[in-house]
């Protein structure tokens, strides 16, 4: 039982981080119908921001690195949306998807050149504090991941469902031309969505950085899994992304614990394929 609780906790922590990435992906998918693979590169940038903040200012400033990460995320959102996705606004969706893959390639290549391509560890002060909560044992860092991910997911939920900006985003993702007739600029809304998405991904990068190795290609696996989470939950669905993230995190950890840890990654892809075959439109139909 104690083991089961431990696996559940691990699953929830992994799942909350997948969920945050998936949230960003699903918002952008909703508005552009493009699975934005480039977010994987932005995620790695978030981790690099955390790395350099800790290196230059000291480990105590680890959580402060969310501030520059958010600012950089806004800039990179505007730049990539303008340069890459807006010219393809009317192109078929496959074009946007391929451009996103290209952008990911550029980002990963740039990080490898700008910051040298070796893998490194972040000295977060929270990595060494081990908490014992009943039978469950976890580091402070992982608790921070869990809490912050849920916090930012709630903030996003509030933004999307309780504010005017969110209403515009939802309207534009429902039907772009009708939204435009109602006076909602599709371009401004797309930029807004990109900003929200990139900021979330940068934060996810900062949070995950101490628990993983930081390197130019670190975003590939998480973003691929976020893809899967988004498809699990239903492309474009906000509650689906969070639920899908938790399901994937739990499924992966149970699978690794009770079946085979060697095939841990295989479970997420296998789970995805199975769900896709049973529910071709995801868990939440939009």
């Amino acid at each position: 039982m104690a083991e089961f609780l431990q696996y559940t906790t691990n699953g929830l922590i992994a799942g909350s981080s997948y969920g945050l990435l998936a949230l960003a992906m699903t918002l952008i998918y909703g508005i552009l119908s493009v699975p934005n693979f480039a977010l994987g590169g932005i995620y790695a940038l978030g981790a690099f921001v955390a790395f350099y903040v800790v290196q230059w200012m000291g480990p105590g400033y680890y959580l402060f690195s969310i501030v520059p990460a958010v600012l950089i995320g806004m800039i990179i959102a505007i730049v990539t949306e303008r340069l890459v996705f807006r010219p393809l606004y009317d192109a078929p969706h496959a074009a946007g998807f391929i451009a996103a893959l290209g952008l990911y390639s550029i980002l990963e290549g740039s990080w490898a050149i700008l910051f040298d391509p070796t893998w490194r560890k972040i000295a977060s002060p929270y990595n060494d504090i081990v908490l014992q909560l009943g039978p469950i044992c976890l580091t402070m860092q992982r608790l921070i991941i869990l809490v912050f991910c849920l916090l930012f997911a709630l903030a996003t939920y509030y933004l999307v469902y309780r504010t005017l900006t969110g209403k515009k985003i939802r309207a534009a993702s429902e039907n772009k031309s009708v939204a435009q007739l109602m006076g909602i600029s599709p371009f401004t809304t797309t930029t807004m969505t990109f900003i929200v998405g990139c900021v979330l991904v940068m934060i996810a990068g900062v949070l995950d950085a101490p628990a993983a190795l930081v390197g130019a290609s670190m975003g590939l696996t998480p973003i691929t899994k976020a893809f899967i989470v988004v498809a699990l939950g239903g492309l474009g669905s906000v509650p689906g992304a969070i639920m899908g993230g938790l399901i994937l995190g739990l499924g992966e950890n149970y699978g690794a614990a009770y079946i085979s840890s060697m095939y841990k990654d295989l479970f997420s892809y296998g789970l995805f394929i199975v769900v896709l075959l049973i529910l071709p439109n995801g868990l939440y139909r939009r």
């Binding site: 391929i98 550029i106 290549g109 691929t224 893809f227 295989l266 896709l276 075959l277 071709p280």
Partner: protein
């Protein structure tokens, strides 16, 4: 004779004579690799360009073909030729088994599903080390020496493989032209243009998608088998999503539904990074930049752009 065909003939002649003039084994290897990519891109074009199936699992079938043929030779001591054909058959069955349920899924879900399958296959190959040798499967036998009419041909030489890949490429292209210009090919086009309309007109949409998917995978698998014997050692990465991504880039950059496109894409994306200094470092940057520039400014690829420049050009670009 039309000047067009003279030009084509000269290009063909130059391609055939490459091993005569190029002495360095390195360059023969490079050209052979480009040829292999051209075969893969041509076969992917059947699924992507002609039928509209954006597959990110194409390299997986190349990899399964390579591994099944190599495993048959290494573990069961099957001779090369039967192993190659059997390996291709096995891959075709796997492709059908994967494609049959997968092809009912549509649009972005299908793309993500093929991505998941591509990654899953790479993980399986990587971890099933009892069968696949894990990180690398080496010791795959070379082609033997053959003596015909008193002349000995060394079939393991780089030059022989150059011609072998060239032959496979030509046969692949002819095969694809035959399929595309047949009734089946027109059905592919109608599925690509409007799947619902095709279904409404009584076409067996998922059946024809399966034909296209399995045919493309089978060609890739056959090439994979030859690749395994050519290299002598294979790694799980050849089946990975990164390789599939590169194939997709090549076809998008070169141009779909075009012989020229299937030639230009691999040529450009295989050779140009080779000429860049510090190539390894700048390769992803170059790949991504080319991809974005092409997709924004030439949505139909380089071949499509050349065709649209002038009506006469359209005739010149096959």
């Amino acid at each position: 004779m039309h000047p067009r065909f003279i030009i084509y003939f000269l290009i063909g002649l130059a391609v055939v004579l490459v091993p005569v003039f190029v002495q360095s084994n390195y360059w023969i290897y490079m050209f052979t690799m480009v040829g292999i990519f051209m075969v893969l891109v041509s076969s992917l074009d059947l699924a992507y360009g002609h039928t509209g199936l954006v597959s990110l699992a194409h390299a997986a079938f190349f990899g399964i073909g390579a591994y099944s043929s190599a495993i048959l030779q290494l573990k069961l001591a099957v001779p090369i030729l039967p192993a190659l054909l059997l390996g291709t058959l096995i891959t075709a069955i796997i492709a059908a088994a994967i494609g049959w349920p997968m092809l009912r899924i549509r649009g972005p879900y299908f793309v993500l599903g093929t991505l998941a399958i591509g990654i899953a296959i790479e993980i399986i190959i990587h971890n099933w080390d009892g069968l696949t040798g894990g990180v690398s499967l080496s010791g795959i036998p070379m082609f033997p020496e053959v003596t015909i009419f008193g002349t000995t041909f060394d079939l393991s030489s780089k030059r022989f493989f150059y011609y072998l890949v060239l032959a496979v490429l030509v046969v692949t292209q002819i095969l694809i032209r035959r399929i595309v210009n047949s009734r089946t090919g027109r059905t592919f086009a109608s599925i690509r243009e409007n799947e619902d309309l095709a279904a409404a007109l009584g076409m067996n949409v998922s059946g024809y998608k399966l034909i296209s998917f399995v045919a493309a995978s089978t060609i890739a698998a056959f090439m994979g088998g030859i690749y395994a014997n050519y290299m002598g050692a294979i790694e799980p990465e050849i089946a990975g999503s990164h390789m599939s991504f590169n194939l997709l880039v090549m076809i998008v950059v070169g141009g779909t539904r075009s012989i020229a496109g299937a030639v230009i894409g691999p040529l450009l994306l295989w050779f140009v990074p080779e000429f860049l200094e510090a190539a390894q470092m700048y390769r992803p940057l170059f790949f991504g930049a080319i991809l974005i520039i092409v997709i924004i400014f030439m949505p139909t690829g380089i071949a499509g752009k050349l065709r649209s420049l002038h009506p006469r050009m359209a005739k010149w670009i096959p």
